[in-house]
């Protein structure tokens, strides 16, 4: 199947305009069929040995969100204390999640024992199954952007909080908690770049020819 130049440009437009969204969420619900398209994009991520190790736990209930938000707040306070001086002040000024404002939360997990103990392609590099589930997250992120839906990945929360709040079994690994919703706007640049936290690296300096 050939991809046309217009289609190629559309892919790049989605990739370059994707943002980690923490504010500007609108309360508008995400229609069932839109959510289903986004999840299907995740489900068609590459997976090592075609094991498709992911699951998606969808969160809409505000009591559940409150428990997750409380988990974020505790972890965020713990995190702030790892920074010092001006850097800590700046850290505390950032809004780093949109758990309550976004209509849908998705916890993405990885079942490392799915399809049995020996997995084609995971025999040498055991983390390949986790990496497959991360590819599903990135597909979900891009599909959401293509639906004009913002997404933020909440990583400042202990796995145990998500596990107990969502009833995720001990043997299942937690990859991340994603917040999705329509937004009033997508920013031109990552917030951490705009706010001077870190600059965009030069691509040229990240490319090595033949050897590091």
């Amino acid at each position: 199947m050939n991809i046309s130049q217009e289609e190629r440009d559309a892919l790049y437009k989605v990739i370059f305009s994707r943002r980690d969204v923490r504010r500007d969420f609108l309360p508008d619900p995400i229609p069932e069929e839109v959510l289903e398209r986004i999840l299907r994009a995740g489900h068609h991520a590459p997976s090592v040995g075609f094991m498709q190790p992911w699951d998606f736990v969808l969160v809409q209930d505000s009591e559940t969100k409150k428990a997750i938000k409380a988990g974020f707040e505790a972890a965020n306070e713990e995190s702030a204390q790892q920074f010092t001086g001006e850097r800590q002040e700046q850290y505390r000024s950032f809004k780093l999640e949109g758990i309550m404002e976004s209509p849908i939360g998705i916890c993405v997990t990885c079942d490392r024992s799915r399809t049995g103990p020996v997995v084609l392609g995971r025999t040498i590099k055991p983390e390949m199954d986790l990496f497959s589930a991360v590819c599903a997250v990135q597909n979900i992120w891009l599909a959401a952007r293509a639906e004009n839906i913002g997404m933020g990945w909440v990583s400042i929360i202990h796995d145990d909080v998500l596990r107990s709040t969502l009833g995720i079994p001990e043997e299942i690994d937690i990859i991340g908690y994603l917040c999705l919703g329509y937004v009033s706007k997508f920013k031109d640049k990552p917030e951490l770049e705009s706010f001077g936290w870190l600059p965009r690296e030069s691509l040229e300096e990240r490319i090595h020819k033949e050897r590091w």
Copy 2:
């Protein structure tokens, strides 16, 4: 920036027609500007705390490829022995890489100490930097597909082989080795599905509402 319905459909077309390519590579070179677009897509992946921890080592030299291929062969023999009976026979019948046939190899790495020891968003979940580099791989994969270029992720090789062959420093983590090239065709389905190794999971069974 709004994404139109045509652009959205293009993104889904790319996601659903992406394949892990191990055969059908053509020797046609990838033009410099095409490769640059693909790598820029990788460079615009999300990254925890905007740390952009990835590097890309580009391999074109056939002597280098030979060393990597030898590393694959040893690891593949080791892997085959983890399967038994018919399953082992089937495993041995698969072509699992296109290292020599694809014109470009890309080793994607993760520099976990880039931007210092404390990284915003990695304070609680230390693997977030590795996950960021995996998002770069998935962006590269989709960008390649949008350029009608096939890509395969070679995971059946020890990190040490890539490290010594490509001169990658000890403190840099290796994420994966990717093979890229134009192809005579993209298959309709993943090979492991077509060959009956594993079926496509039902998406519905992977979705949990409110709780696992």
